[in-house]
């Protein structure tokens, strides 16, 4: 009896503390802000989305002005998924455009917080970096490391996932996770009658940019009177995704599939295709295989994006900082367009690999498409 009580108490403490530590992934204010930014007008050249920014706030960087050639260091969370592969290619190609960058040092944390913290320590200890770009593996764990780099007097540029300190020169990111969720959910709500069934497919729990995609969409479905059949984690595995959708199909009709990331969207579409069922609304992302499937089968798709051109922007921000030019900040918010039916064809390129992310902002570079694995 005592043991049971103790166990329950410990369990309660564990879950209690887990809740206490859980960051807030359902923030109405942030949701509203991102909703507004989705349709806002961005400053900067219209044909170069990677140079655009929301708002007018600029950061003065004269204190970091330095004669070239510079050594720009980059601490990368990892190149462990196709989106990051495309992004990293964008980055290395962007670096080639700046002769002032003498050396570009890339350290890959392979998806580990610990390794990334050590990486940043090593870079600082080496003393060769003139600027540090960080793509953090996780928010809380990397904050002290970024603060340390700032304290060492380095200009720091953070992009993709954030950190909870404002010491970096700027934090480059697209509108955000809520925005992604909103674009997909809006499309579903517009195309599915009230009372329809939505299946939410997610990669994995616990990642801020993915959690916010889901929480925003979940609230919107509830408001619109749509039934969420379930929220399933696919681990980004095609076979598992297909099995999950098949099982849900056996239980009843599915009017829409909402996805927090597009890598397995084609597998979800195929589940309907192979069962001989009409393909409902299936949302995806801007990778080629989904865009082409969408065009070929003609279902009601939409591809919200988390544009990989932000990898270019991070380099540009570092270059401008070292030149002492003003940089949008403390947050450089990039546009985050969704690919809709009207513009679908202009993003399809069959010469690119299936998991190439079309919203790469890289078509204007000389090495495109070969450097991204495509053919002319």
């Amino acid at each position: 009896m005592k043991k049971t009580l103790l166990a329950v108490a410990i369990l309660g403490m564990l879950t209690g503390s887990a809740f206490a530590q859980a960051p807030n992934f359902d923030d109405p204010a942030e949701f509203a802000k991102q909703r507004e930014q989705l349709t806002a007008t961005f400053n900067g050249p219209a044909d170069q989305p990677y140079l655009q920014y929301a708002g007018d706030a600029m950061v003065d960087t004269t204190e970091f002005k330095k004669e070239g050639p510079w050594t720009v260091c980059f601490s990368n969370a990892g190149v462990n998924n196709p989106w990051r592969v495309v992004g990293y290619t964008n980055m290395t190609e962007e670096v080639k455009l700046h002769p002032e960058i003498g050396t570009f040092t890339h350290v890959d944390a392979e998806g580990s917080d610990d390794k990334q913290i050590a990486d940043i320590d090593d870079l600082l200890a080496g003393g060769n970096c003139d600027a540090l770009i960080v793509s953090p593996n996780s928010t809380a764990a990397l904050t002290p490391a970024v603060e340390k780099a700032c304290a060492a007097g380095l200009p720091v540029i953070v992009f993709d996932r954030g950190v909870t300190t404002d010491c970096p020169v700027t934090f480059v990111h697209p509108v955000g996770g809520y925005g992604f969720g909103i674009q997909a959910a809006d499309h579903i709500i517009a195309n599915v009658p009230a009372g329809g069934n939505v299946l939410m497919l997610r990669i994995l729990p616990g990642v801020d940019v993915l959690e916010t995609r889901a929480s925003g969409a979940r609230n919107m479905f509830a408001e619109a009177g749509l039934t969420v059949l379930g929220e399933e984690f696919t681990d980004g595995d095609n076979a598992k995704t297909k099995s999950i959708v098949e099982d849900y199909l056996q239980r009843g009709t599915i009017d829409a599939v909402w996805m927090d990331a597009g890598a397995t969207a084609v597998a979800a579409v195929e589940a309907f295709e192979d069962q001989g069922v009409d393909i409902p609304v299936v949302t995806g992302e801007d990778q080629q295989d989904y865009l082409q499937k969408w065009r070929d089968l003609g279902f009601k798709g939409i591809a919200p994006t988390y544009p990989s051109y932000q990898w270019r922007t991070a380099v540009i921000a570092a270059v401008n900082t070292l030149k002492g030019e003003q940089v949008p900040g403390p947050e450089w918010v990039l546009p985050q367009p969704a690919i809709t039916q009207d513009v679908l064809d202009q993003y399809i390129n069959e010469k690119m690999p299936p998991l190439h992310y079309a919203m790469c902002g890289c078509e204007d570079m000389e090495t495109y498409p070969e450097a991204w694995g495509g053919t002319k």
Binding site: P82, V85, V86, G236, S243, R251, V266, D289, L355
Partner: protein, 330 residues
């Protein structure tokens, strides 16, 4: 482990106390699915289920060869990854449908090499199979990643996906017949025959049960052991072809399958340290694994609860099987 002298009579004694509990488990799970969802009784229902399970079932059947011989093969998942993402799709970037006819033999060739290396390292360098194949798994994953650069470079052509995706329609009685199910029956039969109807199969059991005794009895222990790893690697490639055909290719396709295959074998009553195991029961074990997944999905439990239940059922099933064996005098 101690009664190798009585190997012959035990076969009949094992059959007598009743059927292997894995079959009871599978039937119960399938019945439960059917009750939850009568559409499962339709050919599209159960055929889709079999289609889904085909890759894991074939893989487990092959993995059983290594388990019965007294080893583990942790490299099967990464063999699938390597052959699929690198050879299957990256080298097929041209997406030429005709290349399937030489690409699958090439994949099998690579599987053969992987299996040989595993076997040679375990047999001659005396590295425990757990470590040898773990090392192989890490190496292959690295090679696959290096080659693919983190993203598949091409699609699998439809000719390649035929084995995992295509259904033969208008079949009398059952309506549809997925090609994957035919593959399952064919390869399942071959694996069953090899293990239970040949002298080779008996030697495999013998070296897993007691390698010293087997060697003294004239079994070529090294060669049999190496061949077990080769069988395992080849079935990994075949399972990979079906898996890739079913869902399409992703960067880490196949990861995690090594443990599922071992789990399926254990649910099927295989002894982890070798000497006992049955191909049909292992295939039933794979069916049970997939059925648990499907059933819990149908019940509609939230995913975290489902993982807990899944884990408990697994432990329970193996504990029950072990208990039954004990009672039956094994």
């Amino acid at each position: 482990m101690t009664e190798q002298t009585a190997a012959r009579p035990e076969v009949s004694r094992r059959r007598l106390p009743g059927v292997n509990p894995v079959y009871v488990l599978v039937v119960a799970l399938l019945l439960a699915i059917f009750i939850m969802n009568p559409a499962f009784g339709e050919p599209t229902g159960y055929m889709n289920f079999l289609k889904r399970v085909a890759a894991l079932a074939i893989l487990s059947g092959g993995a059983l060869y290594v388990i019965v011989s007294g080893g583990f093969d942790l490299s099967v998942g990464s063999t699938m990854t390597l052959t699929l993402t690198v050879i299957g799709s990256s080298m097929l970037a041209s997406n030429d449908p005709n290349s399937t006819y030489w690409i699958i033999p090439l994949m099998l060739g690579i599987g053969l090499v992987v299996g040989l290396i595993n076997g040679l390292v375990v047999s001659y360098l005396k590295v425990p199979s757990l470590i040898a194949t773990l090392g192989m798994m890490i190496t292959l994953n690295g090679v696959a990643f290096m080659w693919s650069g983190g993203a598949p470079r091409g699609y699998l052509p439809d000719t390649f996906r035929f084995f995992g995706r295509f259904n033969i329609s208008d079949v009398p009685l059952i309506g549809i017949l997925p090609v994957a199910v035919i593959c399952l029956v064919v390869f399942g039969t071959i694996l069953w025959w090899g293990m239970h109807r040949t002298n080779y199969g008996r030697m495999l059991h013998a070296i897993g049960d007691n390698p010293q005794a087997a060697r003294l009895a004239g079994v070529p222990v090294q060669r049999v052991r190496i061949s077990a790893f080769v069988v395992s690697a080849l079935t990994a490639v075949l399972a990979g072809v079906i898996l890739g055909g079913r869902g399409g290719v992703s960067v880490d396709i196949g990861s995690g399958y090594e443990l599922q295959a071992i789990t399926a074998a254990v649910i099927g009553g295989a002894q982890l340290l070798g000497g006992r195991g049955s191909v049909p029961a292992t295939i039933a074990g794979a069916l049970a694994l997939e059925a648990i997944f499907t059933l819990l999905n149908l019940i509609g439990l939230a995913q975290p609860v489902r993982l807990v239940v899944q884990g408990l059922i697994l432990i329970g099933a193996v504990a029950l099987a072990t208990y039954q064996r004990k009672r039956a005098g094994r």
